[in-house]
Symmetry: C2
Subunit: 186 residues, 2 copies
């Protein structure tokens, strides 16, 4: 069974986070919801979610067992991800081991700020393209862009495309199509 982490900071975009969680868990991926602080995290629209673990607990674990890390968007949430040295270190560890890294909406700007998008094709929420270009990324305008181990997407309206792309990488096409059908997405 593939294993993955989704990182939730205060101000995360809730459709983007929950769509990935729902789809990946239906596909049998062992997904840990990881909060940037202890206790509950608050979404952009004030939904309080209790994570499975805090980033301190994950930072003390070996990341060897994980296959992917996912960053939802939300302006404030992404600013909180960018400011975290623990997130930077975790993402650099995932990058150095060529594990899957997925970011949607404003979150590709966090990957850019950590230096992970140099010479990579990527997409982002409209209006934020310059932050990616200045970090050496090549902008591509599709709902989801895959370049090597980096998956990027654009916003709440593309969250299901993003989630199913991650699911295909972690659980295979057949299982993903079965789940998409049961969820009435196809």
């Amino acid at each position: 069974m593939a294993k993955a982490i989704i990182l939730l900071a205060d101000g995360f975009e809730e459709i983007e986070a929950i769509t990935v969680i729902d789809v990946l868990r239906r596909c049998g991926v062992g997904l840990e919801i990881v909060g940037l602080r202890k206790g509950y995290v608050r979404s952009a629209r004030g939904v309080k979610i209790i994570p499975d673990k805090s980033i301190d607990e994950i930072a003390n674990e070996s990341i060897a067992s994980f296959d992917a890390v996912i960053l939802p968007g939300g302006g404030e949430g992404v600013e909180n991800l960018k400011k975290s040295e623990k997130v930077r270190k975790l993402l650099n560890d995932f990058m150095s081991k060529s594990k899957q890294i997925a970011a949607i909406c404003a979150a590709p700007t966090a990957l850019a700020s950590f230096g992970l998008l140099k010479n990579k094709k990527a997409t982002v929420y409209p209006g934020l393209e310059n932050e990616l270009k200045e970090a050496g990324a090549e902008i591509a305008n599709s709902k989801v862009i895959v370049d090597g181990n980096i998956i990027t997407s654009r916003g709440p309206g593309t969250a299901s495309d993003f989630a199913f792309e991650i699911a295909r990488k972690l659980a295979g096409k057949e299982k993903t199509e079965e789940v998409a059908k049961a969820m009435l997405f196809s």
Copy 2:
């Protein structure tokens, strides 16, 4: 400002709930997340959410200030809604005052079991149509069906259509279109 309630019981479908919450709050609707028990509620895929209020607190308030009640799906969640006398009473109160009642996925079967779908056009998650027919509903197969004050829809893949239809009723077309565009749904 319109006001609404979304009812969360253990086992609720998380994309259906969160999509409605996110869209309605972006549209300026005063949405209360109401849990069927105290403490956190657990979604179908194990996400722990802390509601704003419990149903006991809402039951003691006047419902006069609310314009709509929304029921997300999820098999186990809907069974828990059906079993609750407080939910039955709340929905009957909303019905008797012709307030908006919206249900998605398996949740239209809860409306059926409370006797609210007699001679109403409605839709439901595929395979559950007979429960609606036996309660006197007429099945219609679109992503979203509106009949009077009752809005029904089919599953996670139609959650955004469902949310935007509720938003149009509560916040108007113009605001809803502005929000759908910002969320990259249109």
